[in-house]
Amino acid sequence: MALDLPTIIRNFDLRKCMQCGKCSASCPAGFESNLRTRMIIYMAKSGMDVLDLNELWSCTTCYTCQERCPKGVKVTDAIIFLRNLAARRGNFPRIHLTAIKAIYDTSNGFPLTPEISKIRSLLGLQKEPADVAHNEEALSKFRRLMESIEIINITREAQK
């Protein structure tokens, strides 16, 4: 998907925003943090730079704002794509690199630990699930696929 601010404004109907504030009023993350959805939409649709705002990363992507927006602005989708841009600039929580690395290394975001393996056996499940993580050939193929996609470059760039 083409990535720049004007495309996001167009694809997700940000210009339709009338600043009613229903999104902010519905936002569970906004209750507890500085995230002001209406402000992000206002700034973005006016062409202001929002990519350095840490609040972009406070959104839980619950989609409540998008569902309730009376003008049909695709608020959550827009935030997700603004994050795509922010990540390329290096604004993202560094801890996420652990999850991305875990997926690259093991094909799972939450890899299996010996403790859980034991619980699996006690419950009568296979000790190790029949997933890609436990199939050497499939795992090396998956890593090859990961090498070919953009997310690896974005995160490697950030670690330099």
Binding site: C59, C62, P93, I95, I119, L125, A138
Partner: protein, 299 residues
Amino acid sequence: MRYSLFPGCIAKNLYPSIEKATSIVFKELGIELVEDPYTCCPAPGVIRSYDFDSWLVIAARNIATAEAKGTPLLTICNGCYGTLGAADRFLKAHPEYIERVNRFLATVDMRYLGATRVVHFVDLIKESLPQLKDAVRVELDLKVAIHYGCHYLKPSAHGGENPERPEILERIVECLGCESVDFPEKLSCCGAGGGVWSGNEDLSLAILHRKLNFIKEAGAECIIDICPFCHLQLDQGQKRLKTRFEIPVLHLNQLIGLSFGVKDKILGLHTHMVSTRNIAKKAKKARKDLFEENEEKEI
């Protein structure tokens, strides 16, 4: 009908009790589940936030795996559904992307065709309500707080329940002889999604705390979820909060398992962080009224 079970990382690797309960419930409903070699869905909150196309390629790889076997993909997690369902619908609506995705998949000898579908397990239970009713053996009579979680209901453009007034979980829970309690912000987020769980723990727990206060006030004996990630947040998150709520958390399939007369230990209730002892006791009592001890269900 056969379905390929997509357990997702959390049910497999953090809460195998959910995977176990799922296999028991669907066996009883006469629905065959097979296992296929999957990866992380990938996580919609983290991976999609970094690069939409990368997210799409990994999701398409998982869908293509089920497609090659000719089985629909069954998710037991809102996060997996949020990824696999959305990616599948996106590709079907934008065929020009299919070719692009397939250029990546070709490097690992795979291909997405758009010939299967992604199903959330609640929708499958919805279709099987009569069978479910028949299989219920014990009335648990629990006061439960239903937590829908976000990505089963939303975005609603994908169809399904009305996100502001859903009713399927209430119907299922009633079917099991339980009462669903009402509470403010019942449909609000658990606070884990969007990478906030790992990226901003304080905020994630603050959102959870707010929700748990409402649940406690409503007098719920337990929380019922349909997503292992919400489950992780509701169960482990409670332990991280300073306030001691001690509200047991069950994935819907575990509650259904109990209603089928399956023992709590078999369903792995004892492996949760928040004690489920009171629920187990109540289930045992309900079972006693129905079975002689040696007749107890041991699936």
